[in-house]
């Protein structure tokens, strides 16, 4: 492929706008004797059009080919359909996307020229193998490739190797961690939820990770999140609504922004100032959640179960008795009360659907179409008049207990005018650095986007692949547009972009950390967080079980505290809290059902360096704690949608220059040194330094040094015993390292 790429980049003249055609795959030779394996698409004036295995279309003068091939080309019939070397359906889908990108570029040019900007002549040059392998690892598995992964790919001569690598990466564990990071940031998934009460997002985090691992389709994931009931540790999907317990209106605004690319947040308080959304419409949407409760009411009138029996919250009832037990055991209730109440309180967070819709207009509602505090019936919003005749809108909205199901069915329905488009636009942005429609949370009018035809086509593709995100990304990664070099032109904020290649981007915090982990561990996916969810195991109490007694609650609380401490130790944070004095001796609580925590304890399989737990970002605290590499690098605090940033800062630079992570990489025991030793030639007479430096550059920057760089590097290692460490330090501190080409 190396040869192929070279030939193509030298021959490549412009983007091909032609339609696809039936193809014969063969090896073509040019006048200089270089070869490429590609299928014949057709002739266009004096040009020939070929398609390579990766789906890329190439157009160049026919006269560049050998006389024999020129004659052959003239004899061939242009074909109807592209036949690809591998995975033809994907290649075909990718080619169609490329065509729309190319058309979009063509349409944008007159306007650009008018604005004094140069016309875009076509896709950027094809990225070379080194650029491609680095980018595709970072984009699909969220880290740079290790030395072996990079060199194996670069040396591979299989013409279909790019498509093969994409397939392999999409099926590797790294895909799940990286996709989880993206979704977690978008959905604001976090461990320690606001409002205290010991409610933790762990079961939700685990649920989301499992969904991604199993490649559950997007529509199903969203449906499950919107309709889940019960406690989070019984159904992780319940975390979506419980995450925002107590603030259903904010949750709804986020739901619409994230899943439907529709920003109605303003309409929470007043009619939307720019778009057509009214406050009344917002409340109509909120009404779908009006019969849903995310919390058992501590002081509310007693609930009744299905048999009409009164359900008593035992957490309240047992408190005096628990106080007595603790005090008689010499415990200090003032020190324990808060924690105990939070432990019990966490069990009040559960989603239930009731039979009464409590949604009402706010007391300060000021528009004439209704009065303050009026009840509001559920009604779907529509983006155009025709929308209401779509199948998605055929939902029953009368049955209070099933309102969420109606809402979720409408939301995730293929004919919902925004659902497929919103996620397709987001996935496109993941690959290219910019959405076709910006911002991705507000697709007000697709026709105003940078490339309306492309946006609509991608929405259709998302439906065609049945919301299988992996399959969708496969199409995008196989496009010629994606496999182009990164755009060097500076695109100002808010300026439209036409996708002649991906934009240059700084690594996300997670990509940077996971790349460091790759440099340290080689295969960081081997190191996982402890599998067992100790939190879910120990927190559960059935507060409405009339047989619940004070002794059991206290015992469970004790076990919970022990496990919390243990779990903290396992997660590598707050070791100090492990082994803290427990409120009661084990002897006093043993004898009843639950076993003390010892058998839950697990070996911590992770490595650590100077207090840093060496695992991938998706396997660490969500989000990481204050001062962590990830936080300094702009990891989202998970309070707002897509809340990360990529801004540099002084602490960040200090960390890269002087922090523990760089120390770990420049250490003589680091994997980079071991790789250099492993690959250096055994022959003493060979240029050992050159081979080692090649390996060093390949490990860190995924490219070989230039001649000038090699000269400098050789001089450095010859003159200084710390030369190799100095070069590692220099390379991980380059902009080239921290940006994704």
């Amino acid at each position: 492929m190396k040869q192929t790429t070279k030939l193509l980049s030298s021959l490549l003249v412009a983007v091909l706008f032609a339609s696809s055609a039936l193809a014969e795959v063969r090896t073509w030779t040019d006048t200089k004797g270089r070869q490429v394996t590609a299928s014949f698409i057709g002739l266009d004036g004096g040009d020939i059009m070929l398609q390579t295995a990766d789906g890329g279309m190439h157009k160049f003068p026919l006269t560049n080919l050998s006389a024999e091939d020129q004659a052959l080309a003239k004899s061939l019939k242009p074909s109807e359909q592209p036949v690809m070397l591998a995975n033809s359906a994907v290649a075909q889908a990718s080619a169609k996307v490329d065509l729309l990108v190319a058309t979009g570029i063509g349409r944008a040019n007159p306007e650009r020229i008018k604005g004094g900007k140069p016309a875009i002549t076509g896709f950027n040059a094809m990225a070379n193998d080194e650029q491609f392998v680095r980018r595709v690892y970072l984009d699909i598995v969220g880290r740079i490739p290790n030395y072996d992964e990079a060199t194996v790919f670069i040396k591979d001569s299989n013409p279909a190797k790019r498509a093969k690598l994409i397939d392999m990466l999409l099926d590797s564990p790294g895909y799940s961690g990286h996709m989880y990071n993206y979704l977690a940031e978008m959905l604001r998934v976090k461990d320690r939820l606001e409002g205290g009460n010991n409610v933790r997002g762990i079961p939700y985090i685990n649920w989301l990770q499992k969904q991604v691992e199993q490649n559950v389709t997007w529509d199903k994931m969203v449906f499950d999140m919107l309709t889940a009931t019960g406690k989070m540790w019984h159904n992780g999907a319940a975390g979506y609504l419980l995450r925002d317990s107590g603030m259903p209106l904010d949750n709804l605004a986020n739901t619409l922004a994230v899943f439907l690319g529709t920003d109605v947040a303003c309409a929470q308080c007043h009619d939307h100032p720019f778009a057509d959304w009214t406050q009344y419409q917002f409340y109509e949407m909120a009404s779908f959640f009006g019969a849903t409760s995310t919390r058992y009411q501590r002081r509310a009138p007693a609930r009744r179960n299905k048999e009409g029996m009164e359900m008593v919250d035992m957490g309240n009832k047992l408190m005096p008795e628990m106080e007595k037990i603790i005090e008689s055991n010499g415990g200090d209730m003032t020190r324990i009360r808060n924690g105990l109440q939070q432990f019990i309180g966490a069990n009040r967070y559960a989603i239930t659907d009731t039979t009464t819709n409590s949604i009402k207009l706010p007391h300060d509602y000021k528009y004439k179409d209704a009065k303050p505090l009026d009840p509001v019936a559920p009604k779907f919003i529509a983006w155009s008049k025709e929308d209401r005749s779509l199948p998605a809108y055929k939902q029953k909205t009368k049955d209070e207990e099933n309102l969420r199901v109606a809402f979720a069915t409408w939301t995730t329905h293929p004919s919902n005018p925004r659902f497929a488009m919103a996620i397709a636009n987001r996935m496109w942005k993941r690959a290219f650095g910019q959405g076709i429609n910006e911002p991705v949370t507000n697709i007000d009018d697709p026709n105003q986007s940078a490339n309306p035809a492309l946006l609509k086509h991608l929405a259709e593709e998302m439906k065609r692949v049945k919301f299988n995100l992996k399959d969708f990304m496969r199409i995008i990664y196989n496009t010629r547009a994606y496999q182009s070099e990164a755009t060097t032109e500076h695109i100002a904020m808010g300026e439209p972009y036409y996708f002649q290649g991906p934009l240059l981007r700084r690594m996300t915090a997670e990509q940077a950390w996971d790349s460091y982990m790759t440099l340290v561990l080689g295969d960081p996916d081997k190191y996982k967080k402890p599998l067992e969810d100790l939190y879910s195991k120990s927190i559960d109490l059935d507060l409405y079980n009339p047989k619940l007694d004070a002794q059991t609650v206290l015992m469970k609380y004790d076990a919970y505290r022990k496990m919390d401490a243990k779990e903290r130790a396992l997660m590598g944070g707050g070791l100090a809290s492990a082994g803290e004095g427990m409120m009661m001796d084990d002897a006093k609580t043993s004898g009843k059902d639950s076993k003390p925590g010892t058998d839950m304890m697990m070996e911590n399989a992770s490595l650590s360096y100077n207090g840093m737990v060496l695992r991938r970002s998706s396997e660490l605290d969500q989000p990481a704690g204050p001062g962590h590499f990830l936080i300094e690098f702009g990891q989202s605090p998970r309070n707002i949608i897509d809340g990360s940033d990529k801004i540099g800062s002084v602490p960040q630079v200090l960390m890269m220059m002087n922090g523990r992570a760089q120390e770990m990489l420049t250490n003589n025991d680091s994997l980079i040194f071991r790789t250099m030793e492993r690959v250096k030639p055994a022959d003493e007479k060979a240029d050992v330094a050159a081979a080692k430096l090649d390996a060093l550059f390949m490990s860190v920057l995924i490219r070989r040094p230039t001649e000038a760089e090699m000269t400098t590097a050789k001089k450095t290692v010859a003159s200084d015993s710390t030369g190799y460490a100095d070069i590692i330090w220099a390379l991980i501190n380059t902009r080239e390292f921290i940006f994704v080409q």
């Binding site: 409002g195 107590g246 204050p626 702009g634 940033d645 801004i647 002087n658 200084d720 380059t734 902009r735």
Partner: protein, 434 residues
């Protein structure tokens, strides 16, 4: 000379004065002379040089209450149906009442001005935060600067100090930071005041460190030449800034351990208390604008318990900071401001909490030329609506900018050639200044 001066447009006039001063007098321009020019420019509008409080706040400590601080339980307590879990307590001067957990602030309320008539348009955390910190609504096309960056733009970098002009404490992110101004004007984020600025020392000796830097620049040169984007350039600027800072003597300002234990206790051993103490040290070290963040205000559930922790901590820290600044003689020149993205609903919800409420809320000012024991504006009896003298987020920004001596109505063009002012054309609330 005077007529010639008047013919020039405002910017040219200032430059003219500066140049004349530098060449004719051989010294840098005297502030009073510049003030005169600004006075001429801004005479038609409220504020500006010569008006109350202008330029009195040489430093600003901005206490940011993350999550939406409940106004009824803190600065604008009510006794009717919307009363909070505790009874209001008496303050000093015009500060008739404060929330029940505000005992320490009540004692120093003769040093504060409360604005009880804030009103904003958005009840969403991120948008509300953005508008309170920049004066502008968030847009997909530009990032607006915060006040620290505006101040550096108008007043220049603080002279003789190697620390940055602004710092954000208790946050990993400086956002929105320098906005469209150069990244060098961005605040330094300090995620943990106890540990301050980490990794200040190279792990090698100076010679080797320099060698590493020159290798970095050499190996990176082709990439930097190929990709001349703003983002790449910004990173290179951060490396330059960081290198300067690493050599700075002023870094000891970040070392809280050199404070007496009693002082540290007085502020409270928590991130907000120690963050406020760090802010005071940074003021002494010359940093101009310090934001200290404190979360926990998003009290949708059980507001009574939330207030006994978050509310009481805020009370202790704010009061300690005012007293400490006063006893160090810094309160005259340092303005302490407390703000939040919005207030909270007057009605308590089903979870015994309060929800987001942008229609009426409060902000607080102390020091830097601000009146003591003063209340500006009011809400109705239940705290639902502004009853008098409504203040918008742009006005709030303009007020701080005015106190810092910034020309708040001067238009600055962004690199994308769009016009902006400090706080989006807000009007400073001059009544709060003595």
């Amino acid at each position: 000379m005077k007529t010639e001066l008047n013919r020039l447009n405002p910017i040219a006039r200032r430059e003219f004065v500066l140049r004349t001063a530098q060449t004719a007098l051989g010294v840098s321009v005297m502030p009073s002379m510049l003030d005169g020019v600004r006075a001429a420019e801004t005479a038609s509008k409220a504020g500006g040089p010569g008006s109350p409080g202008f330029g009195k706040a040489k430093k600003v400590i901005f206490l940011w209450m993350n999550g939406g601080m409940t106004h009824i339980d803190t600065w604008d307590p009510k006794t009717g149906g919307t009363k909070g879990p505790t009874d209001p307590i008496k303050g000093k001067g015009q500060v008739d009442f404060l929330g029940g957990t505000m005992t320490k602030m009540a004692a120093v309320s003769d040093k504060i001005s409360i604005v009880r008539s804030m009103s904003s348009k958005t009840g969403v955390h991120d948008a509300g935060t953005y508008i309170m910190k920049t004066g502008y609504e968030p847009r997909g096309t530009i990032v607006h600067p915060n006040l620290g960056a505006w101040a550096s733009h108008f007043l220049g970098r603080v002279k003789g100090v190697t620390l940055p002009d602004s710092v954000v404490v208790n946050s990993g992110s400086a956002y929105p930071g320098a906005g469209f101004f150069p990244p060098a004007l961005s605040p330094i984020p300090i995620s943990n005041p106890e540990t301050g600025l980490q990794n200040l020392r190279p792990t090698t000796d100076e010679g080797q460190f320099q060698k590493r830097l020159s290798l970095m620049n050499e190996f990176d040169s082709s990439f930097r030449n190929k990709f001349k984007s703003e983002e790449v350039k910004a990173y290179t600027e951060f490396y330059d800034e960081t290198m300067k800072l690493m050599k700075s003597e002023d870094l000891k300002a970040f070392d809280l351990s050199s404070e007496p234990a009693a002082v540290r206790e007085k502020y409270g051993r928590n991130s907000f208390g120690q963050g406020a103490l760090l802010a005071r040290r940074l003021v002494q070290a010359g940093v101009r604008f310090i934001e200290v963040q404190f979360g926990g205000w998003d009290m949708h559930n059980n507001i009574d318990t939330a207030l006994t922790s978050t509310g009481a901590t805020m009370d202790q820290v704010f009061a300690a900071l005012i007293e400490d600044l006063a006893s160090n003689g810094l309160l005259e020149s340092t303005m302490v401001v407390m703000g939040s993205e919005f207030g909270r609903t007057p009605d308590v919800n089903e979870n015994e909490g309060r929800d987001h409420y942008p229609l009426a809320y409060s902000t607080v000012f102390a020091g830097g030329g601000v009146k003591g024991g003063f209340v500006y504006g009011s809400t109705d009896k239940d705290g639902r609506r502004v009853a008098d003298k409504q203040v918008s987020p742009p006005d709030f920004q303009a007020t701080i900018g005015h106190a810092m001596g910034l020309p708040v109505d001067e238009v600055v063009m962004s690199p994308s050639n769009r016009p902006f002012t400090v706080g989006d054309k807000g009007t400073p609330v001059l009544d709060i200044f003595a």
